[in-house]
Chain length 337, copies 2
């Protein structure tokens, strides 16, 4: 699928969805729309991004695309009215529009009529399907080994770790599927339920449904985790993924130097306590164990310092660890495969 | 408020909402509607229920009421069409209708027009307000001591324990408020959010909002718990209540003889493990400790056997315990007040 990604004024570092899709998506990204970086190239702005031209608007695209993907999400998840001309132009050109905003494009009467007139689809990734239900507690019955990333906090690299593991496992010849649980992961995979938006009674059920749908067609499922099992606001999402997936292997993700839950006053417990917490929570339902750790060292400039931080993290865990982006995920994969 | 409670063909044992409101609500219950027990009295059907006449339909009521409360919830939460004449008659008589069904009365066009014509309100208790948000992690800042019931499983008596504790604490002269989290509790209190129906990102936030709303006006808040922290389907709801409330004291509720999660193949962990699980999950956010236990012995016929079961439960917990219905909640309250 040929796509353009809208990321005005936030690209690259404020556009996690855009950079996630650029790095890990299977899409053919024709261009990024960013009026601030018109004429630049994504790979020049950040070296981990593929070569992708940046243009000022949808009408500046040199070639046709199948879809426009909204690659940014302002705080609150609203729709920025300065994006309307791009979405309008995309729909008039017969393109689908994919969005992870809290504001649903399908509820916008102009977009809905334009989509109908031009035979396009509006895909609001954050809208969970209405037929989700309660978990049956049977995710462990699938044939695949289920691996889940879990975290000490939000924003420590669970999605990136999961995607690096999937990519490298495939390179190593394994039959692996990715189970996304958040908007960026869903856009990358083109499938999945937004677990943070489900009704709380159905959180585990939505995850279980994904595991059952893919778990007999692959040797390994890699489930994208969310938040932290003791997060002051989001622990319910984490618990739902842990028990809904009944993962066999857990990979504990953490960010170097993180001391408090991001945006909260509460301190993170020490790393070994997280191992105990996840394993004792998993024991009655699924019985998963922490087999390795992933440390995000992106805030550590010096490579030697980063390597030392990873080593200290592995010591605290008593398990192998790596920074899957800086060092590659092989040390983690070796503990799983 | 004078009310009638609809509980056709399920009263009393299949009508948890009806019996909960009869036992613990502040309402003046004029009658129960149950076409199967027309002419009987609630207190004759079950000795723990107050004297309340039973009539066959709304039009058989001897005196006017302010509201009709739907006191049963079939599996799936649908609306039984045989109830329509009662709801219609109530609205035509100018009564409000209170419902905890998944099927929202407000979305029923006949009921909505009747309510408008007659100036009545339809209160769908299970519909969460649309303005809930993410928790700020600040529930511990309220002045009240926050007590939460937690459980080994669903249906072990968390709501009943909470309400018995509230009632007895008031009798003992304390300034206490009840914080409901489920439909029956909300109907009893006339206030509260249905935590199992919130968006999973907002589960803790909805609980926190209730704590902040009442936490500076009372000496104690008693929070109704839900499910179990290791429940195969609902652990996310439990985690959200634990971290959203940041309860100081936890009362662990259990049912005598319960070995598996109700309706699931997974075995319950031993009781001492539940104490560790709840305390280690609470430690980073709120720091609550299990101070006492409540054992539901309703399935044990013999009083001596029930007392022995409570004693064994207290030993396993290493804390005081009681069956709050059979023995009264004083032993539990003494550990809190």
């Amino acid at each position: 699928m040929r796509i353009a990604i809208l990321a005005h004024e936030r690209f690259p570092d404020g556009a996690k969805t855009a950079t996630g899709v650029l790095r890990y998506g299977q899409h053919d990204v024709v261009a990024v729309l960013d009026r601030e970086h018109d004429g630049a190239n994504a790979s020049a702005l950040r070296r981990d991004l593929p070569e992708t031209p940046i243009v000022a608007s949808f009408s500046d695209l040199d070639e046709p695309v199948d879809a426009l993907l909204i690659g940014i999400s302002p705080i609150g998840g609203g729709f920025d009215e300065t994006w309307r001309p791009d979405v309008r132009a995309a729909l008039r050109a017969g393109c689908d529009v994919i969005s992870g905003l809290h504001y649903f494009l399908e509820d916008d009467s102009e977009f809905r009529s334009l989509a109908e007139e031009n035979g396009c689809e509006l895909w609001d990734v954050r809208r969970p399907p209405s037929d989700l239900g309660v978990a049956d507690g049977v995710a462990d019955e699938v044939e695949a080994t289920v691996v889940a990333t879990v975290g000490t906090d939000c924003g420590v690299g669970k999605m990136t770790t999961t995607l690096e593991l999937v990519e490298r496992a495939r390179e190593r010849g394994h039959d692996v599927a990715f189970v996304p649980t958040g908007q960026t992961g869903i856009m990358i995979e083109g499938w999945g339920y937004p677990i943070d938006r489900t009704i709380s009674d159905f959180t585990a059920g939505a995850v279980e449904e994904m595991i059952l749908e893919r778990g007999n067609d692959h040797d390994y499922l890699f489930v994208e985790g969310q938040a932290s099992i003791v997060h002051p606001a989001y622990s319910g999402v984490t618990a739902g993924i842990l028990h809904g997936s009944q993962a066999d292997d857990l990979v504990l993700c953490h960010a170097a130097g993180r001391e408090n839950f991001h945006g909260f006053s509460q301190a993170l417990p020490p790393v070994p306590e997280f191992v105990d917490l996840y394993e004792s929570m998993a024991a009655p339902v699924g019985g998963g164990e922490v087999v390795a750790g992933a440390l995000n060292t992106s805030t550590v400039a010096d490579d030697d310092e980063a390597a030392a931080a990873v080593e200290a993290y592995a010591d605290a865990l008593g398990r192998p660890a790596a920074d899957p982006v800086r060092e590659g995920p092989d040390a983690i994969l070796d503990a799983i495969l």
